[in-house]
């Protein structure tokens, strides 16, 4: 046990490390936390759906959970069910074989719901395009609030996309208080 404690002590708190002068990460992260709380008034629950990606975007979404990004500290967490989610984070291209599952996941998410499409494929089908096997971008199947380009987008870009989607709902903030009780 003492080895674990020693390792933790040696590692220090990475998410609080003072940023380099050209590293805006910390500032960015704190702003995101304030925005999430100001707009939602509570934590943001995200359900991720891989609708047919190459797994590159999943690696970077997973990276958001590492200590550098301190995601849970920002009040953002990934949940196991769409029924607990405020936002769907969808990677694509949307394969024909995932279309039904994606639509059902969307239907199971309580309103109001946000959809963020992640990656070039989520934006427009990317290199896979549209074919007998894919519908292309997420917007061809669901109403998308924000699309984050990149192949794959870096974790901080995905975080920025999530925040942008939350901000888009600002004028209709009362929508959130009228959520299912």
């Amino acid at each position: 046990m003492w080895k674990i404690i020693r390792q933790i002590a040696r590692t220090g708190i990475r998410s609080e490390a003072p940023p380099d002068s050209d590293d805006s990460l910390r500032v960015e992260a704190e702003r995101i936390q304030r925005e999430v709380l100001a707009i939602l008034g509570r934590a943001l629950a995200i359900r991720h759906v891989d609708a047919g990606s190459c797994n590159g975007c999943e690696l970077e979404i997973n990276a958001l959970d590492n200590p550098y990004y301190n995601l849970e500290g920002l009040g953002i967490r990934f949940v196991a069910s769409p029924r607990h989610a405020d936002l769907l984070l969808v990677t694509g291209p949307v394969s024909r074989n995932m279309e039904l599952a994606l639509a059902r996941t969307y239907d199971a998410t309580p309103a109001p719901k946000l959809v963020v499409a992640v990656g070039d494929c989520g934006c427009d089908g990317g290199i896979f395009g549209t074919s007998y096997a894919t519908r292309g971008g997420v917007a061809s199947v669901l109403a998308v609030d924000v699309a984050v380009p990149g192949c794959p987008p870096a974790p901080i870009e995905i975080l920025r996309g999530i925040l942008t989607a939350v901000q888009r709902r600002r004028p209709g903030a009362e929508e959130f208080s009228a959520g299912p009780s």
Binding site: K3, I4, Q7, I8, T11, R14, H48, V49, D50, A51, G52, S53, C54, N55, G56, C57, E58, L59, E60, I61, N62, A63, D65, N66, P67, Y68, F78, A80, S81, P82, P93, S95, R96, N97, M98, L100, A101, L102, T105, G126, I127, F128, G129, T130, S131, Y132, A133, T134, C151, P152, A154
Partner: protein
């Protein structure tokens, strides 16, 4: 190179690994399978092609076998009106799903196969039209058919119930469906249904120029982008008969070993987390993030996508960058050693790891378990050691192996491979040969074929490529990418038998198989 009991004319492809190609009839197709199985060779891949683009038209079914001397790509031509071939599943159980996929995509059928359920076909195309037929237009949708329930094998008996999981999973994971038949907490049977991430990669290849298609190969499976890009480029270079500069080989190996380290760091953290040691995830994901950030700074991409290009690499490494890479290896090695001793001594963690999800060496051999998971079950195969191509001929990579075949063994193999890759990266940056890192690749006048074979972090990646003649723009007529997950997914079904349901995520993670690489 010969297959025992057969006299075949095999042509050696100009690839850095020993790869031969030959044509067989139905009898030789079966004799070869029996002989390869008897000599403990393995089936690397099975796929079909529509040969409508050349004479004589018709179909073809292909098999790639790994033997002690190298890889043999056998091509069995099939008539257009009766495209059937002898079933290979009796010799290689892993052939079953590959044959079902070939039937879905091309309509070529393994005669006498026991399992003829559709596999990649979930109803997105009509029964009389096949996506990989030459006359099926690329880039266009096909009218779907009515989706029907997949006939899972039902388990009967008192108290048996089913737990369906997926295709949308509870974490940040790829899509796939698992059907558990359980009594209480105990798993009696797991049946997988995959194909949800099928995005028409093989058809898409035929729309791309051969000199651009490495980008698509690098997106067959994002966690193995370097391995796929290298395998594709090796196939293209072998089709063109083009040798790449020595520096390019070394840089490619540098990228490949860095990809192996990145994935092992990610998996080791996730495995700790799945056994409730969140500390492990925090530590390893931090190391992985450091690793990816340096990749971004040195190579310009966190996952190193599109860094391997036809004829060499898109990036070079200067002495300053080489020094940073070396120093990061030293720092990572110290940390990983420390974390390994914590994992090894953590009673709670070892209690979850040891004996969980066991695949005995005998079962592994019978089912053809391959790659990292195979090495944890006594199958010590590694292309970097078995057929060392440049620069591995100068690096002498050690092969990690274990015989316990449980989660603990797969963790141990990951630790050993991670530390060995750090040593290899150190050796590579210390001895990078001077010279160009890219050469111009020129394709020949005639139609050509090439193959690539690479030891990715998960196992062996194989790419078979067929190009048309110069007068038809060297069009890609067929590009088959094979992921080792094809072999290992069916073994996972066996690994969970008798375990409890809550251990499934841990067992699944310890294999960490690809959905997208399999579904294509």
């Amino acid at each position: 190179m010969q297959i025992p009991g057969l006299t075949l004319t095999l042509d050696r492809l100009p690839a850095p690994l020993p790869i031969w190609r030959g044509s067989v009839d139905a009898d030789a197709w079966q004799v070869a399978a029996r002989a390869v199985a008897a000599s403990e060779g393995r089936l690397v891949a099975l796929w079909g092609s529509d040969r409508g683009w050349r004479e004589p038209a018709g179909f073809s079914v292909c098999a790639a076998y790994a033997l002690a001397d190298g890889l043999v790509w056998l091509d069995h031509p099939l008539p257009a009106d009766a495209p059937t071939y002898p079933d290979l599943a009796p010799f290689f159980p892993c052939a079953g799903r590959m044959q079902r996929a070939a039937a879905d995509l091309l309509g070529i059928v393994a005669a006498g196969a026991r399992d003829t359920r559709p596999w990649l076909d979930h109803g997105a195309w009509p029964p009389d039209q096949f996506p990989l037929h030459e006359q099926t237009a690329a880039g266009a949708g096909l009218p779907g058919k009515e989706v029907v329930d997949y006939p899972f094998v039902r388990v009967g008996g008192d108290g048996v119930h089913e737990i369906p999981v997926g295709p949308v999973h509870a974490g940040i994971i790829e899509p796939g469906h698992f059907r558990f038949s359980v009594v209480g907490e105990k798993v009696l049977r797991l049946e997988e249904r995959l194909g949800y991430a099928h995005k028409g990669v093989e058809k898409r290849f035929t729309q791309l120029a051969p000199l651009d298609a490495h980008r698509l190969a690098g997106r067959v499976c994002g966690d193995s982008t370097v391995a796929y890009a290298w395998a594709y480029c090796m196939a293209l270079e072998s089709a063109a008969g083009c040798a790449i500069p020595a520096r390019a080989c070394w840089l490619r190996a540098l990228l490949l070993e860095r990809e192996r380290v990145a994935n092992h760091l990610g998996d080791l953290g996730a495995l700790g987390n799945d056994a409730a040691l969140a500390f492990g995830l925090a530590q390893f994901s931090r190391l992985r993030e450091d690793w990816l950030r340096l990749a971004k700074e040195v190579f310009g991409h966190r996952l190193m996508m599109d860094r391997i290009v036809p004829g060499g690499t898109a990036v070079d490494v200067d002495p300053v960058a080489a020094d940073r890479i070396g120093r990061q290896c030293d720092a990572t090695m110290l940390q990983v050693r420390e974390l390994r001793s914590i994992y090894d001594e953590h009673a709670g963690l070892q209690d979850r790891f040891i004996g969980t999800g066991q695949v005995s060496p005998d079962l592994a051999a019978e089912l053809g378990l391959t790659g990292l998971a195979g090495r944890a079950s006594g199958r010590a195969m590694d292309l970097r050691r078995d057929h060392p191509w440049p620069p591995y001929d100068a690096l002498h990579a050690e092969t990690a192996s274990h015989r316990a075949g449980d989660v603990a063994a797969r963790v141990a193999v990951r630790f050993a491979e991670l530390l060995e890759s750090l040593r290899l990266i150190r050796a590579i940056v210390a001895a990078l040969p001077a010279g160009e890192h890219r050469t111009e690749l020129r394709l020949g006048e005639n139609a050509s074929a090439g193959a690539g074979w690479i030891e990715g972090w998960r196992g062996e990646i194989f790419v078979a490529l067929e190009l048309d003649a110069a007068e038809r723009g060297h069009a890609i007529r067929r590009c088959h990418c094979h992921d080792p997950s094809w072999q290992n997914w069916p073994v996972l079904e066996h690994a969970v038998i008798g375990n409890i349901v809550p251990d499934f995520p841990l067992i699944n993670k310890s294999f960490n198989l690809s959905y997208t690489g399999h579904d294509l």
